[in-house]
């Protein structure tokens, strides 16, 4: 027996290694109710420990390299390359002032929306608190689109928190360690984000394909979906707040599954530069109220607008309310450009009622035949003090 193991020790070791790893894999995969196998989203304790060890080995050198790079870049940008800084600063200040005014208007609308939502017991969640983090490393595998952040649970990060940039969504935190976090990007094949097409309002699930492109999978073919349409988060996945930019439709392809005729995949060009991520924001808290910074900005914006602008806004609001209360003069059956009130081709804005089938003396424009025992129309007009008929509209 000993000689067998010694003779075939290479093969025995190989088989042992393979069997141990296969058993380890079997523990990590579970069977779903639909009869398919799927990876357990929550790593077991032993698997998590292995990931923690690997992270502890790789992260310190990555952090060192990243900090060195950022130091050099910061030194270059902060001390050496300062050309046009003054002009840029002035331009940015103007932009900030302009955006404050725009923000004030938008926040006013949002507040009104909040009041309406409260009436229907629906609460919109706003990004209340974010933590800025640096991307310091990747998975190293083109089959797994994950990357690592330099912040972890010690900084308030947790699993399933949304990771975004000002341009658009990036992914969600898959695993969190004390000082690092692993982010699953939206172009990974195992990711999933609820999205909605802005114009057509078609909903779907976004995930990555083999080439690392995010795509909305398994939606019914629809001629209205065109390249260039914006894609936003739908808010139903409880990870990404509603309305965040995801990207634009790049192209539409047929679903590659053979038994899914009539379904399409929509390839999305992501709004965030997933390949060039340096700094990202992790949404650590969403609330149904505005964060203090936005409230402060709102107050500043209102102060900048001044009382005059506020009075104009009040007048506009009052006009809008009055317009809602007044009866409409718009024909819902006609397209907007043919509405009588908006038709500039007609010299007069007055419309005439249709002719009555059986005109009588009360019919506008009607000429009833005078009866013998009644006074004529001329006689009636001769006695204006006691008018028997309502005044008639003059005929053109």
């Amino acid at each position: 027996m000993d000689s067998f193991f010694i003779r075939y020790r290479n093969l025995v070791v190989l088989l042992t290694l393979l069997v141990v790893q296969i058993v380890g894999l079997a523990v990590q995969v579970r069977r779903t109710g639909a009869g398919r196998n799927s990876l357990d989203p929550q790593d077991g304790a032993s698997v998590r420990l292995i990931r923690l060890w690997a992270d502890a080995v790789v992260t310190p050198p990555e952090r060192l390299i990243h900090q060195s790079k950022m130091g050099i870049v910061g030194m270059w940008q902060g001390y050496i390359d300062l050309r046009h800084t003054q002009a840029e600063n002035q331009e940015l200040q103007k932009t900030i002032d302009r955006m404050r005014l725009e923000q004030a208007a938008l926040l006013e609308d949002a507040k009104q929306g909040q009041r309406l939502q409260a009436l229907v017991n629906f609460r919109e969640k706003y990004i209340y608190k974010t933590v800025a983090a640096q991307a310091i490393g990747a998975s190293g595998s083109d089959q797994s689109k994950v990357f690592y952040l330099d912040k972890g649970s010690a900084d308030g990060l947790d699993r399933d928190m949304a990771v975004i940039t000002p341009d658009g969504i990036v992914g969600k935190i898959r695993d969190v360690f004390p000082h690092t976090a692993q982010v699953l990007a939206i172009n990974d094949q195992t990711s999933g984000a609820g999205v909605i097409l802005e114009t057509t309002r078609i909903r779907g699930i976004l995930r990555g394909n083999a080439l690392g492109q995010p795509q909305i999978v398994g939606i019914l073919a629809d001629q209205r979906i065109q390249p260039g349409e914006k894609v936003l988060t739908a808010g139903g996945d409880l990870i990404f707040p509603r309305g965040l930019p995801v990207g634009v439709v790049e192209k539409i392809v047929r679903d590659p599954e053979p038994d899914r005729d009539g379904f399409i995949d929509v390839i999305v060009k992501p709004a965030a530069h997933l390949d060039q991520l340096d700094e990202v924001l992790v949404i650590t808290s969403t609330e149904s109220r505005f964060p203090p910074e936005q409230e402060k900005d709102l107050a500043t914006s209102e102060a900048l607008k001044g009382p005059e602008a506020a009075a104009i806004a009040e007048q506009k609001k009052a006009s809008a309310i009055m317009a809602e209360r007044l009866p409409g003069l718009i024909d819902p059956n006609l397209p907007p450009d043919q509405q009588p009130l908006l038709d500039s081709s007609s010299p007069t804005t007055l419309t005439h009622p249709p002719m009555a089938l059986h005109p009588d003396r009360f019919t506008p424009g009607g000429i009833p035949q005078p009866k013998a025992d009644q006074p004529s129309a001329d006689n009636t007009e001769a006695k204006p003090a006691t008018p028997a008929t309502p005044p008639r509209n003059p005929q053109p």
Partner: protein
């Protein structure tokens, strides 16, 4: 291709390296594999841990050592991904074993043969990876063979530069 008996090849030359090379080469490969794709973006067509596994397995010609090294490197790579731990481990275990076994049988001093082996073992690693992921685990995974081909070519180019550089680090008596 020169074919020699296993014992003869083993007696012909036993390469030894400074302990620092054994410790640092795999570590640097793993760190760079995790860091460089940030710069190469979608064009990161290389697998440095696989190249290092092939190199040390070929020059040591001990299948147990090659298998263990492959398993270690593969498991480490898996741990950095979102995939189950062990898929890469199995692929690189087989690669390490085969590279060591070939190191016994064929003349691996020939640079062209080493490059050819690197290319072949890279493709084999991809095949095993896909087989384990789809066949054994039954998980769905889209796959691009073109990318895997590019990766094998990239590994061969890296081996073209790295193998002679590592050859220079060996202890010569």
């Amino acid at each position: 291709m020169t074919t020699l008996s296993g014992e003869f090849r083993r007696d012909l030359e036993v390469r030894r390296y400074p302990i620092l090379v054994y410790a640092l080469a795999p570590l640097v490969a793993l760190v760079l594999q995790a860091w460089l794709p940030r710069f190469f973006k979608s064009y990161a067509w290389f697998d440095l841990p696989l190249v290092i596994t092939v190199y040390f397995s070929l020059v040591h010609r001990v299948p147990i050592q090659g298998s263990l090294m492959g398993a270690g490197m593969g498991l480490f790579e898996d741990a950095l991904t979102s995939h189950p731990i062990g898929v890469n481990g199995i692929a690189k275990t087989v690669v390490g074993f085969l590279a060591s076994s070939m190191g016994i049988r064929i003349d691996v001093e020939n640079h062209t043969i080493r490059l050819g082996l690197t290319f072949f073992l890279s493709l084999l690693s991809s095949v095993i990876y896909l087989f384990v992921y789809r066949g054994v685990l039954g998980l769905s995974q889209e796959w691009s063979w073109l990318t895997e081909l590019f990766k094998a070519i990239g590994n061969t180019f890296i081996a073209l530069v790295l193998f002679p550089a590592l050859d220079r680090l060996q202890i010569r008596e």
